[in-house]
């Protein structure tokens, strides 16, 4: 059992693109809340600009981006650029969804910390976020 930090970890679960399938995003929201984190969900169809703006306004530690459309390279690159421009490199970005293995290295080079593909365990995601924040 890990000791909980004094202030809860703040997480933003984000859903870019026009795709409306957010079963996975909503499962993640509930799992991270059960792990003691403070989680908000952007809702559907957010642009990278809106996601970064919300993350900064809500002062989150981590953004979890759920993408199923295949447009992950473009979307992550824009999110990372905007975070950089805002001087918000403190915020860690994670990705989840249908992302082929061959794209993962490229996304990590961009600065995305980790990619979780279908079948990833919720406990593993929560543990990873806790380890990131306590770095």
């Amino acid at each position: 059992m890990k000791t909980q930090p004094d202030t809860p970890i703040r997480v933003l679960v984000a859903k870019p693109g026009l795709d409306g399938h957010d079963r996975g995003a909503k499962v993640l929201v509930q799992a991270m809340r059960d792990a003691g984190m403070e989680v908000s969900y952007t809702g559907l169809r957010r642009t990278p600009e809106m996601i970064v703006e919300t993350a900064i306004r809500e002062d989150v530690d981590v953004i979890c981006v759920s993408i199923l459309s295949g447009a992950h390279n473009a979307i992550f690159s824009e999110i990372m650029d905007r975070l950089h421009d805002q001087g918000s490199n403190r915020i860690s970005v994670l990705g989840g969804g249908v992302i082929p293995g061959r794209d993962i290295a490229h996304l990590k080079e961009m600065g995305v910390r980790e990619i979780f593909t279908p079948g990833a365990s919720l406990v593993a995601i929560a543990d990873y976020i806790e380890s990131l924040v306590s770095e």
Binding site: G17, G20, R23, G43, L44, A71
Partner: protein, 554 residues
């Protein structure tokens, strides 16, 4: 012998069997039960019948309450329709594909639109940029619809337009093409999904808030009632609710509660129940637990028949008939060990067939990895053909009828669904449940519970949390070819230059006036479509008037 005496004897005998035989056996070995949302006993006997009356509760196929099937002959007459998704690409490629399929004798073409089209964005809209042509064909204006359908035998094509938020625009475009092709209005046939409430609940391709969305839904139904006698104006989907993670009972309950909302809105508009109810159809998911699924379809038929006859006072038999398509539940198909999905899909289709559905769509075994290959699409079709011609499941009408277990499940599902609907209505109805976000939260809660069962291994998913191997294949994403997107945007620019822009402006402002008033919007939308206004321009007018839906925070 006296019936009560018989039942008492049976109960005592069963009690004895349980204490003397079953319990000691289970005390030795007792494997954990598979998690079930429905209550289940290890054994069912004739005393588990809950006071069921054969003639009232089961009856005969093709007769009220239709528990055993909507047609008298069911698959004795002909098999169910075996549906397959058609390919997509540009409007021209869609045309060529449809031309080929029609030549092969296949009707009932499924038209999948890309997400920008479904959401009323033009292909050159900045919000559309990553999604043009990804999940279907882009249709910006009547010109694209003409490219798809001109020259095809439209009376045979009977296309199914998978559109909801902007279903009115898609239907208007199809009607305009059919008119130009010389098809009389009373010969125009096809289907619009037009089930917006499940978009708020589950699938997410909503645009306008629930109430104006419902107005558009009824506008489409009213227009078809007056002008297109052969158009199936609505397909109510439990499928997407289940895929969003709901339980089986929630799937039926939300689909039925949505249906009730539509019926009430149509009645309020002054439509006659027996004029529109026969044209309502459903679409449900089918999971691998084929006993549950078969019981679900049986329960849904009885529930619908009673609802329409008793609550809404429908007099025509056709109004009482629950007609449904079903499809394999994509979310149960795994990326790991994909060949296992062939077995899952076969069981899911078997559940639909034992449940007496009118059509079934089998997914490709590579569903979780890629757009179906020709090979996987063929296996999917062959799966249905094996069930139809080799399994014997289609040889007897409602073969599970009378099973102690399945009849008990059927009763249980009907009862649970009725309780769930009553609760939704007691809390203010479906629209309110959507507006407050309660309905969406209930589905998300079920999805989370299901995921937790998988993680704790209380629920086994073969090849995923048990019996896993570590050489799983790579996911292949479908991305549209860049030239299709470029050509679409270029075509749109040409259209904006070549059309009569004065006429476009006039029809769009007429639409704006009507949206502010209370008239049926199908008519001004048809005028705008005929003037080659784009779907983005038409929906922009409606977005200004109605606003855009913002879900309650989750």
């Amino acid at each position: 012998m006296d019936k009560h005496h018989e039942a008492g004897k049976l109960r005592m005998a069963k009690q004895r069997w349980q204490t003397e035989r079953l319990d000691p056996a289970l005390a030795q070995v007792n494997r954990p039960a598979m998690p079930s949302d429905l209550e289940q006993e290890p054994l069912y006997t004739p005393d588990d019948d809950d006071g069921r009356d054969y003639l009232d509760d089961l009856g005969f196929p093709g007769e009220y309450p239709f528990t055993r099937g909507v047609q008298p002959s069911m698959y004795q007459g002909r098999h169910w329709t075996m549906r397959q998704y058609a390919g997509f690409g540009s409007p021209q490629e869609t045309h060529d594909r449809f031309d080929y399929l029609l030549g092969q004798g296949q009707g009932g073409l499924l038209v999948a639109f890309d997400l920008p089209t479904q959401l009323g964005f033009d292909s050159d809209d900045p919000r559309a940029k990553d999604d043009v042509g990804v999940v279907g064909v882009a249709v910006d204006s009547l010109r694209d619809m003409e490219t798809i359908f001109t020259g095809l035998p439209l009376e045979k094509a009977s296309p199914s337009l998978t559109m909801n938020a902007a279903a009115t625009v898609a239907l208007a475009m199809y009607v305009a093409v059919a008119e130009k092709e010389g098809v009389a209005a009373d010969r125009i046939s096809g289907t619009t999904q037009n089930d917006i409430l499940k978009e708020f609940l589950a699938r997410g391709t909503y645009v306008f808030p629930p109430r104006p969305s419902l107005r558009l839904t009824v506008d489409l139904i009213e227009y078809c009632s007056a002008n297109l006698p052969r158009w199936n104006f609505m397909n109510i989907c439990g499928y997407h609710v289940r895929e969003a993670g709901s339980t089986l009972v929630q799937e039926v309950a939300f689909a039925m509660a949505n249906a009730i909302t539509y019926i009430e809105a149509c009645l309020e508009r002054g439509l006659d129940i027996d004029a529109f109810a026969p044209r309502l159809a459903f679409n449900f998911a089918s999971s691998s637990n084929f006993f549950h699924e078969a019981a679900k379809f049986r329960a849904a038929r009885r529930l619908w028949a009673r609802l329409l006859r008793e609550r809404f006072g429908a007099k025509e038999e056709a109004s009482w008939m629950f007609r449904t398509g079903a499809g394999s539940a994509g979310s149960t198909l795994t990326a790991q060990q994909p060949e296992n999905n062939i077995v899952r899909v076969a069981l899911q289709a078997l559940g639909g067939i034992l449940g007496g559905v009118q059509s079934f769509h089998t997914a490709g075994f590579d569903e979780a990895l890629a757009i179906p290959s020709e090979h996987s699409a063929m296996v999917a079709l062959r799966t249905q053909q094996v069930l139809a011609h080799e399994s014997g499941a289609a040889e007897v009408i409602d073969p599970l009828g009378g099973s102690y277990y399945v009849e008990n499940l059927t009763d249980q599902i009907e009862r649970e669904v009725n309780l769930y609907i009553a609760r939704i209505e007691a809390e203010g109805g479906m629209l309110k449940a959507i507006e407050d976000g309660h309905a969406q939260a209930e589905i998300a809660k079920s999805a989370y519970a299901y995921q937790q069962q998988i993680e704790s291994r209380e629920r086994t998913i073969v090849g995923v949390n048990q019996f896993a191997t570590d050489n799983d294949p790579e996911i292949e994403l479908h991305r549209p070819r860049a030239e299709i997107v470029a050509a679409q945007i270029k075509g749109l620019a040409a259209l904006r230059r070549e059309r009569d822009n004065g006429a476009v402006q006039r029809t769009l402002s007429a639409l704006e006036d009507e949206a502010r008033g209370g008239g049926n919007l199908m008519y001004p939308i048809l005028d705008a479509v005929r003037a080659y206004a784009t779907i983005g321009e038409i929906c922009a007018v409606l977005r200004r008037e109605f606003g855009e839906y913002q879900p309650a925070s989750f």
